[in-house]
Amino acid sequence: MRFALSEDVLAVRDGLRSALRAHCPTELLRDASSPDGDERVRGLWRLLGDMGVPGLVVPELRGGLGCDEVFMVVALEELGYVAAPGPLGEVISMAAPLLADAPSQQEFFDRVLAGDALVACDTGEGHVAHAQMSDGFIIVRDGELGFVSRSRVHVDPVTTVDATRRSGRVRVDGAPATLPLAGLPRAIDRVTLAVAAELVGLSARMLDMTTQYVQTREQFGVPVGSFQAVKHALANSLIAVEFARPAVWRAAASMASGDHWASRDISMAKALATDTARQVARTSIQCHGAMGYNVEYDLHHFVKRSWARCADWGDSEVHVARVAQWLEI
C-alpha cells in the first residue's frame, strides 16, 4: 500500500507550478474579464499547449501525453491555485479526450492540443461558461453528444459574478457533428473530478492569502492572526483542505484503475471539495475584513471562481445524494 504521488506526477506538478506562477499572475485575471484581455489569455493557453497540458490525458497515439487521472488532478489543483482563466478543466478532462475519438474533427483537435482553441461545454442547462471566448462547443442534448465550431453558434453574452468566465447563452445553427456517445459518462465523471481538483487548488490559494494577510494586518496593536477566533477559523479551513485533497486523489486513482466505485468516489470528491471551497471562501472574506470586499485586492478573483466552480457539474448536495444512492442508503 502506498498513498502518495509518484516521482513522475511530482515532476509534472512542479513544472506546471513554476510555469503558472511565472505566467499566470493575478493581473492576468483582471485583464481576463473583458475581450481586451483575450490575447493575454490565449498566450497563456499556448504556453500550456507547448507543455502538453490540454492533451494531458489524451493517448500518446493521438498526440497527447497519455497521463492518467492522477496526473490530471494534480495539474488541475495547480491551475486552480492560480485561477487560470478559460475552460481548462473542460478542455483537459472532457473536450480533448472526446475529440481525440472523432477523426472528423482532426484539424480542430490539433488546435486544441496546441492550446490554440478553447472549447466550452453546453449541457443545455442555462448559460454556458466561457461561451464568449470559445472556438468550439461540446454539445450535450437529450442523450446525444456533438461538436460544433464557433462559426455556427450564436452567443448572447451573460454577465456573471466571475467576469473572467465570459459566459453566454448559446444557440446552435443546425445539427452539431456527432461524437461517439460511449465516451460521455466517463467524460462527465472526469470533468467533475477535474473541477473538484480545481476547487482544492482554489481553496489552498484562498487559505494562503488569508494566512498571509492576518499576519500582517494589525488591529488593537496586534496582528489579527493572533486572535483565537481567527486562528480557529483558519485551522478549520486547513482541516477542510487537508481532508478533501486525499479524496480527490483517491477518486483519480479509482478512475485511472477502472474501479467499479469510481463514480461514487468522484461524487465524494466533488462534494468534499465543494464544501471546502465554500467554507474557505467564507472564512477568507471574513478574516480579510473589509479588504475581502475590495475588488482592488486580489482575493475576490479566487472567491468568485470558487463559487462558480462549486455549482458547476453538480453542487455538493447533488453529489452527496449520489453517494447515498451508491451506498444504497
Partner: protein, 379 residues
C-alpha cells in the same frame, strides 16, 4: 402581550401601504451604489420626503410625523414588503441624525436635519481608516486648531466610505488632541465634501458596484460649528451612533421578512423539483426572520420600558447578519448553476457577506456579548 395593531397603528399601516403600493417605482431602480443609480434614488428620496415618509419618526418640523417606534417598525415592514428602493440616505438619517438629535446644537439641527430629510444633502460616514477597521480607536487622521480662522484643519485618510463618491457631506472622527491615545482626544466633525482640500476616490466592491470611496483630507478648514458635541468627546458620540448602526435602526425586521418572502417565491417556482433538504432550509430561513422580528418586538417593548440591557444590540447584529447570509446562500443553492448570473440574487448574496464584517465584525460583537452581557473576563 399583544401583537396586533392598535386602531391608530392600523390606519398608519393602511396609509403607508396604499401610498407605497402606488408609488414604489417599477421596474426596480438601478443600484443606488452607482453614480446614475444614486441620482435616481435621490429623486425617490425627494418623493418620500414630499409625502412625509422619509423620516417618519422625526418631529414634524423637520419633515417627520412624530411616529412611535411601533409605527416606525410598521413603516419599515410595509416599505420592504412593497419592495421599496434601498435608502441611499440611510447613513445620514439612521447614523448621524440620532447623534445630532442628542448632541447637536439647535442651530446644527435646524441647518442639517431638514436638508437630510429631503435628500438635498446626503451624508456618508468617515469612521474607518486604512489601519483602523474593527479597531476604531486607532484613528490617526488629525484635526489641528486654527485659532486665526476660528476653526480646525483636518488631515488624513478615511476609507470604506459607502457611497462616498456620490454624497455631499461626510461625518467622522479626527484626533484633535495630538497627545492623546486610543479613544481619548477624538472629535466628531461634519464636513462638506466640496471643501477645499478634500479628494474623493471611488473604488469597486465585491458585487461590482463602485460602492466604496477613499476620502483624503489635506489641511481642510472647517469652522467651529462643524464640531458635533464637545471637542474631545467624539468617541462617546460616535459610539452612540455605532449602537444605532448595530441595532434596530439599520436592520429593521421588515427587511428580512421581505427577503424571506422573495425566497419563498423562488422556492415556489421550483415546484416539486425542490428537494426536502432545501424545503427545510427555506422554512428555517422563515423561522429565522420571524425569530428576529419577535426578538425586536420584545426589545422595543423593553426600550419603551427602559429595561434594554447593555450591549443588547450586539445580539441583533450577529443574528441579522448571519440570517441574511443564510437566506442568500439558500437562494444561491436553489438557483444552482444560474446562481452566478449577475442580478438581484447574486448581488444580495455578495452584499450579505459584508454583514458579518461592517458595523463592528461579528467577532467583536461576540466578544462584547460575552464580556458585557455574560460578564466574561477581558484579557
Amino acid at each position: 402581550m399583544d401583537l396586533t395593531d392598535t386602531p391608530s397603528e392600523a390606519s398608519f399601516r393602511a396609509e403607508a401601504r396604499s401610498w407605497l403600493e402606488r408609488e414604489v417605482p417599477s421596474p426596480e431602480l438601478p443600484s443606488g451604489d452607482t453614480r446614475e443609480g444614486f441620482a435616481l434614488h435621490l429623486e425617490w428620496e425627494r418623493k418620500l420626503y414630499e409625502a412625509r415618509w422619509s423620516v417618519v419618526a422625526w418631529p414634524e418640523k423637520y419633515g417627520g410625523r412624530d411616529a412611535t417606534v411601533w409605527e416606525w417598525l410598521i413603516f419599515e415592514e410595509e416599505y420592504y414588503r412593497a419592495g421599496g428602493p434601498q435608502r441611499v440616505t440611510q447613513n445620514g438619517i439612521f447614523l448621524l441624525a440620532p447623534s445630532l438629535f442628542t448632541f447637536g446644537t439647535t442651530e446644527q439641527q435646524d441647518t442639517y436635519l431638514p436638508l437630510m430629510a429631503s435628500g438635498e444633502q446626503s451624508w456618508c460616514q468617515g469612521w474607518s481608516e486604512p489601519s483602523s477597521g474593527s479597531d476604531l480607536a486607532s484613528i490617526v487622521s488629525r484635526a489641528v486648531r486654527d485659532e486665526a480662522g476660528g476653526g480646525w484643519r483636518l488631515s488624513g485618510q478615511k476609507t470604506w466610505t459607502t457611497r462616498g463618491a456620490f454624497c455631499t457631506h461626510v461625518f467622522g472622527l479626527f484626533r484633535s488632541d495630538p497627545e492623546s491615545v486610543r479613544h481619548h482626544g477624538l472629535t466628531y466633525y461634519l464636513v462638506p465634501l466640496d471643501s477645499e482640500g478634500v479628494t474623493v476616490r471611488g473604488f469597486g466592491r465585491l458585487d461590482g458596484d463602485e460602492g466604496f470611496a477613499e476620502v483624503f483630507f489635506d489641511n481642510v478648514f472647517v469652522p467651529d460649528d462643524a464640531v458635533l458635541g464637545e471637542v474631545g468627546q467624539g468617541w462617546r458620540i460616535a459610539m452612540s451612533t455605532t449602537n444605532s448602526e448595530r441595532g434596530l435602526t439599520l436592520r429593521s425586521p421588515g427587511r428580512f421578512t421581505a427577503s424571506v418572502e422573495r425566497l419563498r417565491h423562488l422556492a415556489d417556482r421550483q415546484g416539486a423539483t425542490l428537494g426536502e433538504p432545501l424545503r427545510l432550509r427555506v422554512a428555517r430561513a422563515w423561522m429565522g426572520a420571524e425569530a428576529y422580528r419577535l426578538f425586536t418586538l420584545g426589545q422595543v417593548s423593553r426600550m419603551l420600558e427602559g429595561t434594554v440591557r447593555n450591549s443588547e444590540s450586539s445580539l441583533n447584529k450577529v443574528f441579522w447578519s448571519e440570517l441574511d447570509v443564510e437566506i442568500q446562500e439558500t437562494a444561491m443553492e436553489i438557483l444552482g448553476s444560474e446562481a452566478e448570473v449577475d442580478g438581484p440574487w447574486s448581488r444580495a448574496f455578495m452584499f450579505s457577506l459584508g454583514g458579518p464584517i461592517y458595523a463592528g465584525t461579528n467577532e467583536i460583537q461576540r466578544n462584547l456579548i460575552a464580556e458585557r452581557m455574560l460578564g466574561m473576563p477581558r484579557r
